[in-house]
Amino acid sequence: MRKLLVLLSAVAMSVVAQGAMASAAGALKMVEIDNSEQARQRGVEIVVSTCMMCHSLKYIKFSDLTEIGMTKEQINNLLEDQDINDRMMSLTPVEVRKESYGKVPPDLSVMAIARKKGPQHIYTLLTDYYYNEEEETDNHLFPGIKMPDALAYADAESDEERAEIEAQAHDVASFLVWAADPSAESRRTIGTYVIIYLIILTALLYLLKRRIWGKIH
């Protein structure tokens, strides 16, 4: 009974801490993140060609993209003036971006983990643009947003067009999930082995414990 209470309170405290951080965001659209190399490669192409007009990803080097299965030639195809060993920095000067948007658009390297439900947040943001009464683009998730409609979602006129842009947003989110935590996959793989090992070891320890204590019970 005691142990149950203790366990419950521990779980409750941690759940509380997480749940309590619920952001003031509007409803987030559901999206399944694709861990495939193809989705990430499609995503990085959009990021480099579109998002990097204004955003940088300073913790990723172009050469890191070999980790999502791209060859050196494929990476070089993405580049304009940059070198393959450069970090993914926006080519637009800082002052220009600051002037246009009031502040430097945030770096995207860890954006997928810098927001609650990051991937869903990114996906929703990109596909929540609409035209308001003043014929300006605005965003349901982030009203008054200064960021323009990067994927031109508000301009889409048919369901097909919207679906195409949603696929792009999904790929961008998938790439950014990788970018925020490139070691995630190897972490889970190693973790599986560690947990299996620990279960075996703990079972052995339990048997040994029972045997040793068996004598005095």
Binding site: S63, N85, Y197, L198, I200, L201, L204, L205, L207, L208, R211, I212, G214, K215, I216
Partner: protein, 171 residues
């Protein structure tokens, strides 16, 4: 507090005890690996373990100094005269033939640190001269006058193509 040691069967418990200890030891050893490994060069340092040199930019008779793993490396485009001289000459302090020190005779690649105490020697007509204690090297990087004990070190390098070499090896 005396415990009846005769009550348990020592053999069976020993085996379980030994197996458990062995399994545990494997885990402890495995746990050390990430920590030890973290002290090895990180990804960004490893990226600098090789340097690429464009030979086309070095005219005949000139020496360029490039950086490799934080050290200077002299890349000399030797003239035919120099090559002939070096192939004929021999040194006494650290005997080595010129052919042993080059892959293509017109290109000499040596680490630009004096083998005495690590100063960077200056380029001269006859080779290099170290300003710190006066060691002299010839146009094959061989030590001609001490106190340096060894010839200038030839690093690992490879010709990617006619006009490009890569110095060092990927760690």
């Amino acid at each position: 507090m005396a415990i009846d040691k005769d009550l348990d069967s020592p053999d069976r418990r020993d085996f379980l005890g030994k197996v458990t200890t062995a399994v545990g030891a494997v885990g402890v050893a495995g746990a050390c690996i990430p920590f030890v490994s973290s002290m090895n060069p990180s990804k960004d340092v490893k990226a600098k373990s090789t340097s690429i040199v464009d030979l086309a930019s070095i005219p005949k008779g000139k020496t360029h100094t490039i950086e490799w793993q934080g050290k200077p490396v002299f890349v000399t485009h030797r003239s035919d005269e120099t090559i002939a001289d070096m192939q004929d000459a021999s040194t006494e302090i650290d005997p080595q033939t010129d052919t042993d020190r080059i892959q293509k005779p017109e290109w000499l690649v040596v680490v630009g640190l004096c083998t005495h105490l690590g100063c960077v020697p200056n380029r001269t007509q006859e080779g290099w001269s170290c300003p710190c204690h006066g060691s002299l090297y010839d146009n094959s990087g061989r030590v001609v006058r001490g106190p340096a004990p060894n010839n200038l070190i030839v690093p690992h390098y490879e010709f990617i193509d006619e006009k490009t070499i890569i110095v060092g090896q990927k760690v």
